[in-house]
Amino acid sequence: MTGGVWWLAGVNLVIWSGIFWYLLRIEGKLRQASNDLAHDEHGEKS
């Protein structure tokens, strides 16, 4: 170990986890929108 910056690692972990959670949320919203669209198209056909 070289006496690194633990507090900075903690701050970065929090930031990274926040970005990761945000990307997961967008992923979920996009999946939901695709499903809704497919459902609408299916509804129009039938």
Binding site: G4, V5, W6, N12, L13, W16, S17, F20, L24, L30
Partner: protein, 223 residues
């Protein structure tokens, strides 16, 4: 991206963050002009990977653009523009972190160093691509012209990122293969490059899907 891969990426990047800021060796000879701690050189584990990820993204945009020009499938054009948009963000991050480090090491955030200058030129090249897209209303003409432009990036990007900085003369920038770098630094950098490239393509994929949904919605409104 599957659920397993996404959580794997979170773990991978978390390990990279903790290791690069606490365990990985610091490059020697980076005390800074005013005797700052060499710990500041740990910014290299962020600065270099985001620069490389943006370069890979710009190359991918060029490949998708060529595929669009061959097949005329709009999905390739959407993939290319998504790669450029995310690539521009990563490129800005590389420039900003580079300037922060330059302030510590060289005493000024901006020095017109060959590498600083050439990465800004690359950024301007891709900002012009986005401006070009914004200036054309017809979607097919826009896709065709911007794909021709972005495919030039396959030559321009390597030129700006690697060839031009070497041609522009002496640089203050540390050389990647110089003896002052510990091999452990290289391994940490490689792990960070893999992680940031994965984040890049995840973001690009999300943006591409968002553009696809927007185009379907637009067609629905026109019909």
């Amino acid at each position: 991206m599957s659920r397993m891969l996404r959580y794997g990426l979170w773990l991978w990047m978390s390990a990279v963050i903790v290791w690069s800021l606490t365990g990985a060796p610091v490059a020697q000879g980076f005390e800074g002009l005013y005797g700052e701690s060499p710990q500041t050189s740990r910014i290299v584990y962020f600065h270099v990977p985001v620069a490389i990820a943006s370069f890979i993204g710009f190359l991918a945009a060029g490949v998708w653009s060529i595929r669009y020009l061959i097949s005329r499938r709009p999905s390739f054009d959407r993939a290319a523009v998504a790669a450029v948009e995310v690539g521009v963000i990563f490129c800005v991050l590389a420039i900003v972190t580079g300037a922060m480090w330059a302030q510590v090491q060289w005493g000024a955030a901006w020095n017109w160093d060959p590498r600083q200058t050439s990465i800004v030129l690359a950024l301007l090249f891709y900002l012009a691509y986005l401006s070009l897209r914004g200036a054309i209303d017809d979607s097919e003409t826009r896709a065709r012209l911007s794909s021709a432009y972005a495919s030039l990036g396959l030559v321009v990007s390597p030129m700006m990122f690697f060839i031009l900085p070497r041609m522009m003369g002496p640089s203050l920038h540390p050389k990647p293969a110089s003896a002052e770098f510990d091999p452990a630094i290289g391994v940490t950098l490689l792990a960070a490059v893999i992680g940031f490239t994965a984040i890049f393509f995840w973001c690009q994929n999300l943006r591409r899907r968002q553009l696809a949904l927007a185009s379907v919605a637009l067609e629905g409104r026109r019909a």
